[in-house]
């Protein structure tokens, strides 16, 4: 009998995971590098040198204030990752907790939690962000909170649906027959068995968070100047779209490639982490 290939070996041969993983790695790498080095400072204004097309001195050209576009775009990656990680983290922890409680308690607790998530889900992230910035003023925290809140019902639903399926399995009945309480069963049996579904969902929500962050910043509700952000770069580019199309091109491409990369990786993870598919491969 030959050994089945390891997860790493299968991952490298999975086309969408390999491409998505490479793009995601690139995003993280760019954000990491921009912490210590960018070609020029993303904050340095050089009005006489504004709206330069791409050239060896400014690879992606300069914007209306003469800032180096590649430097701003690199620093903007940090912002996207920061918002994505925290917003998904908030949604994942609170949503998973709610979904797990709903699946463990059933009955009216489940109804209450799920109707609450329906209610939250009905609010678009944009609307929450507008309300929050009306109350607290716009800023990166507002976009993180708004996207985080929007993520809670998504994770709550995924968790409840997968957890209900695990609760129906015999080994959970066996664990209950062995005298385990609901909390122990949730922690030891349910959560480990839904980890793959949550991982996939988290990857995809991360991509969505980047998209929403860009949308909120574009609307002026998220990251505030001079903090670099892809969404704001797009907003700035709007007025000069015919004189300086590169201003929209590069942040747009950055958003597209990041979101594409994360989505492909999520898709790939779904295949790789599914034990049934794994065995057939």
């Amino acid at each position: 009998m030959t050994h089945p290939p390891t997860l790493a070996a299968r991952a490298l041969r999975h086309p969408s995971f390999a491409i998505g993983g490479a793009l995601t790695l690139l995003l993280i790498l760019v954000a990491g590098v921009s912490l210590v080095w960018t070609p020029l400072s993303p904050y340095d204004i050089d009005v006489p040198g504004k709206l330069h097309p791409p050239s060896p001195g400014h690879w992606f050209g300069t914007d209306s204030l003469g800032r180096d576009v590649i430097s701003v775009a690199m620093a903007g990656a940090q912002n996207s990752i920061l918002v994505g990680v925290i917003a998904v983290g908030v949604g994942l922890s609170l949503g998973t907790a709610l979904g797990a409680v709903a699946a463990a308690r059933r009955g009216w607790t489940e109804e209450l939690i799920m109707r609450f998530t329906d209610f939250t889900f009905a609010f678009p992230a944009i609307l929450s962000a507008i309300m929050l910035s009306a109350a607290f003023g716009p800023g990166i925290v507002v976009s993180i909170v708004a996207i985080g809140i929007f993520n809670i019902p998504i994770f709550a639903r995924v968790t409840r649906a997968s957890a209900n399926a695990v609760w129906a399995r015999d080994f959970v009945t066996a664990a209950r027959a062995a005298g385990k309480g609901r909390l122990r069963i949730t922690l030891e049996h349910v959560l480990p068995n839904i980890l793959s579904a949550l991982t996939v969902q988290a990857t995809i929500q991360f991509a969505n968070a980047i998209l929403w962050e860009a949308a909120l910043s574009y609307l002026g509700l998220g990251t505030q100047p001079p903090q670099p952000s892809w969404g704001r770069m797009l907003n700035d580019a709007q007025t000069q779209i015919f004189q300086a199309p590169w201003l929209a091109l590069f942040p747009g491409a950055a958003i597209m490639l990041s979101v594409l990369g994360l989505n492909l990786m999520g898709d790939g993870l779904r295949d790789l982490l599914d034990p049934r598919l794994a065995r057939e491969r």
Binding site: R176, A177, N193
Partner: protein
């Protein structure tokens, strides 16, 4: 006082077609070291009876009656109190060893868990005891296999693991719900022998649930035949097999294949099918399939009639049934 006394146990379910009684008025007693078999078709209420005993009925099921374990009433106990009893005093072995084990934990860990939970052992001691238990259920290379994950074991080995889990805390009662149905025929015998041996060694009481008459005949002292949620006949196994009284039991025994039958001879079958629980007739549940049925059968549920020492059947046509033999 018997170890386990069940009196008039009834389980009401809410189904899409209205309320249904999955278990009707079941009573029995089990002594320490005793063995009891529940036999019946799918949907006869035998598994539901077992789940009621261990307090794991599905959501929305309402049990009533009495279940006393060494004098303590189990129905109506709080979940936290039931957790103290489950796995510790009443343990259960399930039908599907494939799905009854968590695929993500090593089998050693799964056997050790009840010991930590109820026995208060620390991890190292529980692990050592788990290996000893696996050895006791004749797991080859127990120490090594304790590190294995369920998918690395065969069906028979997995069932040995679930038995080891059930026995970990030396329960008073072991409930085995179709423990060999999912296994190869060659393994069935060995697993049943193992259960019988372990139960005798620790003088546990055993409740064996099966649809297989052969399994029941060989493994238990007393048996209850269930149909439509009711016990239609109960008594010592030898008695019930030797002198079946209820028409259903008799039909069931007649439907068994036998080696001496000539080629081409069709096996006897029971015409009709098991009634839906939601629309059980008010009278005898077997009424519409019984060859001896008379109008009085549909009037009221038959009472228990004595047919021998400790042997009874719920039928008003026992005289006719005896003649029909």
């Amino acid at each position: 006082m018997a170890l386990l006394e069940v009196e008039n146990l009834t389980v009401r379910l809410r189904t899409a077609r209205g309320p249904a009684e999955a278990v009707r008025d079941v009573s029995f007693a089990l002594e320490r070291g005793g063995t009891l078999g529940l036999v019946g078709e799918s949907g006869s209420g035998k598994s539901m009876t077992a789940l009621a005993l261990i307090g794991l009925l599905p959501d929305g099921a309402e049990p009533s009656g009495k279940i006393r374990l060494a004098g303590q009433e189990l129905l109506g106990l709080a979940e936290s109190e039931l957790c103290q009893i489950r796995g510790n005093r009443i343990a259960m072995v399930f039908q599907e060893p494939v799905t009854a084990l968590n695929p993500l934990h090593s089998v050693g860990r799964q056997v050790a868990e009840p010991l930590i939970l109820h026995g208060g052992m620390d991890h190292a001691a529980a692990r050592a005891e788990a290996v000893r238990l696996l050895d006791r259920v004749r797991m080859p290379d127990a120490a090594q296999r304790a590190e294995a994950y369920p998918h690395q074991l065969s069906g028979g080995q997995r069932q040995r693991v679930t038995i080891a889990m059930a026995l970990a805390c030396k329960p008073d009662i072991l409930i085995a719900d179709e423990p060999t149905t999912a296994l190869d025929v060659t393994i069935q015998r060995r697993i049943l022998d193992l259960i019988a041996e372990l139960v005798a060694e620790d003088s546990m009481a055993l409740i064996l649930i099966s649809h297989d008459l052969g399994v029941i005949a060989e493994n238990v002292e007393r048996m209850l035949v269930m149909y439509g949620g009711s016990v239609v006949e109960g008594g010592p196994t030898e008695e019930v097999f030797g002198r079946p009284a209820h028409p259903y039991t008799r039909a069931l025994l007649a439907a068994r294949p036998a080696l001496h039958l000539a080629r081409g001879v069709r096996l006897k079958t029971i015409p009709g099918s098991v009634p839906e629980l939601a629309d059980l007739p008010p009278g005898c549940p077997f009424g519409d399939r019984c060859t001896l049925v008379i109008p009085a059968c549909a009037a009221a549920r038959p009472r228990e009639e004595r047919v021998g020492a400790d042997h009874y059947a719920r039928c008003i046509r026992l005289d006719a049934a005896a003649v029909a033999r």
